[in-house]
Amino acid sequence: MQSSELDYKKFLQILNRRKELFVVLALLIMTAVTIVSFVLPKKFEAKSTVFIEKNVISELVKGLTVTPSMEDTIKVLTYAITSRTLLAKVADSTDMNLAAKSGADSEELVKRIQKNIDVQVKDKNLFIISYKDSNPKIAQDFVNTLVRLYIEENTSSKRGESYDATKFLSEQISTFKAKLDKAQDEVNAYKRDKGTAISIDEGKLYQDINASQQKLIDLELRRRQLEGMRHVTKTTSDPLRSKLLALQKQLHELQAQYTDSYPEVLTVKGEIESIKEQMKAAGGGQTFDSNELAKVDSEIAAIRASEDGLRRNIASNQALLRNIPAARAELDKLELERNNQKNIYDQLFARHGQSEVSKQMEVQDKSTTFRIVDPATLPTAPISPNRLAIMMMGIIGGLAGSFGILLLLEQMDTSVKDARSVKGFGVPILAIIPHMLDPQEVALQHKRAKRLFTLGGVYFLFLLCFPVMELLGLNYVDTMMSYISPASIVQDVKGHLR
């Protein structure tokens, strides 16, 4: 605390000791800064405000079309507007690159332009694009051209995008259409080939098989019965005939040995007669039996034939039954494939419709549009240098700088400044004589200081006139400077030399 107080006192002392120098230095610095503020090249800024509009239609057709989102547009805008290609184009069309001869030059130019461009976003859809240049006309032209070219480029690129999307979709649609057709054909062919296996009902087939088997069993039963019956018919006719045959045989044998009148032959003959009689008697039955037999036989044969048919039927049905799952699976596979293709095709088709609408919207500029709310006007007052600020800073800087110089001088002054500093020489200090004031001289100094301060004050007021003029927007100095511009001086000199 004490040291700071000491410091402040020290500063005051320094200031007091060299107040004249302080005033002169401060005024010199202020003058220099004021001159610099007038000499500094002027920069003009042209501004254009662009509004990104979301059309009513785009709200209406929301979901129906695909439009680039506003956020994306905004995000990209700052970069897009300062892109090399666009700037080069703008420079081209505003003839700014006339001076640039080589590639490096134009590179320089683009860099310089990029430095001078400023894009600001306001309220998310309002853009302020500004450009600074020493020439107000160029600044204005530049901003307007830049905005126009950007909007053009943006619209055309969006349009192109839409076209491309539509084109792509229709290409895809045609390829998928072909695929779908092929799949459909395959399904159809398969169905045609394996129609029976696919269309037959499995349960019915089972029932069929079961019924056939039942029938087969029935038929077998019947056949057995008939066969049994036939056997019975055969055995009843057989004893008489075989007896007859045996008797006839015996007769033949006997006749070979004996005459017809031999008793035994007679008995045999009689017996044969009787059997024949018997047979005759049974003869009616005996004819009936043979008929019956034939009938049974034919019946048996018929049954056998139908049995065979049934068996075949069962076998084929069973084979069919075994084939059904595989055929079904194959069909399913084909159908799935077809369905997939169809799905994609349907979607593509729907999108194609959307893109068609989008394209139409882009073509007719019905989606987001850029509207130039406020085209750049010719800037009248330069934005830089901010003379008022520079001059004000000059005044402050003059005071500070002057004081700094005083401090520096004080620092550089190695003279004895303090009685304490001479104590180090090993010689006793016998007396410290304070500074003596000569009233006359003091008065003279006061007078001189007063004069200097008055002059300084007047000069300071004169310097203050410049910021005030700047504040009031009077540009007498500029007019004056334009009269004595370097170019005209050079011309004057040349004229005199001739």
Binding site: V416, D418, A419, F425, I429, L430, I432, H435
Partner: protein
């Protein structure tokens, strides 16, 4: 003019009228030329007769011990004087030749020598002879509004008697040897055997007096160094914000081997709120 002439006449009448005139001269600030006339008459009289000579009326504000004896600055010179007396005057010794010098010009040597001499002379015990040995820029007479042509250089060059060169000032018991006419070779003059003899002579001729020599600065000129070797003591003046520390150091080293009594720190910036000085001001009779 008429007032001055009247004063002159009155002074002449007083002198003729028996030499028992009152000490304070009523003449208000006589001009230099007339003063010369006044002093020219003095050498014929014995030097220790300050009461008879009309006092010098210099209005130089820097001669504080003469014009503002109650000021704190005058008090400082008095302090310097008492310290110096203590250092130079003992029971069995009296170092009476004292030289005032500094490292570079304009440090206030002459003023210090004058104020110190006046302060010493104002005391009852001390007789003081101030010698202006700065032949390059003699300035003692300028401060006292005197213009005597003859002085130290004449003594050295023409063999003028020292007694004839001495001028009484009328300020206490202070008398003065002016520098004399301008010379081209002060170094040779001061390093000569004659100078050494002269100082010896003065020392023995006036053994009860303080001999205070005002000299050129040490660093630029050579004569001061040789002169310093002939002195009993050297007072070194340092002015604030003039000589650099290096200069002071160099000068002090140049005085090695001489009797360097001490430093007088001149022109100090003092805190206005320093209580010591306001104390003096408040109690000084002149303050009212």
């Amino acid at each position: 003019m008429s007032r001055i002439e009247k004063a002159m006449e009155r002074a002449a009448q007083l002198r003729e009228g028996g030499g028992v005139a009152p000490a304070p001269a009523p003449a208000p600030a006589p001009a230099g030329h007339q003063q010369k006339h006044v002093f020219k008459a003095i050498p014929s009289q014995p030097p220790p007769a300050p009461s008879v000579t009309p006092a010098i009326t210099s209005d130089n504000p820097y001669l504080v011990n003469l014009n503002d004896p109650h000021s704190p600055t005058a008090e400082e010179y008095r302090k310097l004087k008492s310290v110096l007396v203590k250092m130079t005057k003992g029971e069995d010794f009296f170092k009476n030749t004292i030289m005032v010098t500094s490292a570079v010009p304009h440090e206030g040597k002459t003023l210090t020598a004058l104020n110190l001499a006046i302060s010493l002379a104002q005391e009852f015990d001390h007789t003081v002879l101030l010698v202006d040995a700065d032949l390059r820029r003699p300035s003692v007479q300028r401060y006292l509004n005197m213009n005597n042509k003859r002085g130290l250089s004449d003594v050295l060059l023409e063999g003028l008697d020292i007694g004839d060169a001495i001028v009484a000032t009328g300020i206490g018991k202070l008398s003065l040897i002016p520098a004399g006419r301008a010379v081209s070779n002060p170094v040779e003059l001061f390093t000569s055997q004659k100078m050494k003899e002269l100082i010896e002579e003065m020392k023995y001729r006036y053994p009860d007096r303080y001999l205070i020599f005002d000299t050129p600065p040490i660093l630029p000129f050579a004569e001061t160094r040789s002169l310093a070797n002939l002195m009993d003591g050297v007072l070194f003046v340092v002015k604030e914000r003039l000589a650099s520390q290096e200069n002071v150091k160099e000068a002090v080293e140049a005085l090695k081997g001489c009797e360097l009594l001490g430093l007088v720190y001149n022109d100090a910036t003092l805190d206005r709120h320093d209580e010591r000085y306001s104390y003096y001001r408040d109690y000084s009779p002149k303050a009212s």
